[in-house]
Subunit: 260 residues, 2 copies
């Protein structure tokens, strides 16, 4: 049996520490168990930046997923690798719960700004502080953990990190470096960490650009599920064409298992 990695888009929604839903794809746990039973390897890919991977995994375990931190790919660890590679010391404008991911990173005398979905930390004062640091740099470096426009929580829609990224980009006349999906480096660093060549990995996701486009850019195959964020108009996307469409996650897993 070839060693096949399945990369799965996942998002855990929660409100007031009560886990309320897994958004995409549906019936994730059942399919997760089926993949595990088949001997295939699975990696969960999330753009979640409101919590550490530890926290994310803790929630999933509470929901019956027998999963470890190493099986989750998320933007913050990818950002840490980039910071270390380039000797960057970040000023963090992120959610309080994400800060521990940067515990081992030198944050003194910052020479870049790392922006995540800071939620309640997106205050006027905090945004001005991040802006002043950036505009004061000879060559401003803005690293964004994602570029989402907005997301839904139980109490309504919220502006996502991408909106604040655009605000700082405009004010500083700088282009942010995005480390979350669909950035090529997000998938590349996950593959490198796992030691898997891209041709042995398949991405399954509902987002035509972030999941499918991002994975294909680094040589992976990618399936789009017709659930969650999927819209029929995705099938006429001018730039991204999935390797296949599947009606749901169960169908994706069946097809993959049949082809082994």
């Amino acid at each position: 049996m070839m060693s096949l990695f399945i990369f799965l888009e996942i998002h855990v929604g929660c409100t007031e520490d009560v886990i309320s839903w897994i958004r995409v794809p549906s019936d994730v746990r059942e399919q997760y168990l089926k993949i595990k039973a088949s001997g295939l390897k699975l990696q969960l890919c999330t753009n979640e930046t409101q919590a550490t991977r530890e926290n994310f995994v803790r929630k999933l375990r509470a929901m019956g997923f027998d999963i470890s931190v190493a099986e989750v790919t998320a933007p913050a660890p990818a950002a840490c690798r980039l910071l270390k590679e380039r000797g960057l010391r970040p000023h963090l404008l992120v959610h309080d719960d994400l800060v521990p991911e940067f515990a081992e990173i030198d944050k003194t005398n910052p020479n870049c700004v790392v922006l995540g979905d800071a939620a309640e930390n997106f205050t006027y004062a905090n945004l001005n502080e991040a802006f002043r640091l950036l505009i004061g740099m000879e060559k401003p470096v803005l690293i964004s953990l994602g570029k989402g426009r907005y997301y839904k929580e139980t109490d309504g829609l919220k502006l996502d990190v991408g909106a604040y990224m655009k605000a700082l980009e405009y004010a500083c006349d700088v282009q942010a470096e995005v480390v979350g999906k669909p950035a090529k480096r997000f998938f590349e660093s996950a593959l490198a960490e796992l030691g898997v060549p891209p041709e042995q990995a398949i991405m399954i996701g509902d987002d035509i650009v972030n999941d499918v486009g991002g994975a294909q850019q680094c040589g992976m195959r990618a399936l789009q599920v017709r659930t969650g964020k999927y819209r029929p108009s995705d099938e006429n996307h001018p730039e991204v064409k999935p390797d296949a469409y599947v009606n749901n996650l169960a169908e994706a897993v069946d097809i993959i298992l049949q082809h082994l």
Copy 2:
């Protein structure tokens, strides 16, 4: 003598209600008096959106300017005209001190968002509220009182309204309508209100794009002063070429008076 209107860029900085400076151009009051004495008409043009014109004029009067509200052109009154013309009912995300400018505007059941330099009102909650209203509209209408990137106050640089405009534009996939300088309609509505044809008006300002470019777009002549925001690189601007450069406001006024 021909009836000549001089449009003058002006910005009053203040901190904790203490008027601290007039930024651009220097020696405004002396030149202001000289213009008045010559019989020319003067209109002050500001992108100020943190205070009503009444407030702005009160500060100027305290500084020795014998000026009335009608002699000030500012974005909020221009926005009110636009709202009335198009039957728009705004949700306001502006500075508390600007709200009275919209006193006569129907704000029930909003069908657009008006964005100003809201300063401390740029909270996470207020931005989400404005965003939700916009994204819930069949065709979102975002009206911005300016598109400045940032400005300086005594306690440091602050993000200006343009940065927050970009955040909402990106999140809602919409293009804002800007009513402050350099918008053509800013100058047009001032000319219309005064009943002055553009060829009888001259703009004097320090900002190559906002002052000079905006005024020229609606047929006015425009002088750039080599003070304030002026940078030598402005003289190689790819799109805007002033009708003349002057070293300062005094020189501009001298030249104009000589040519009468």
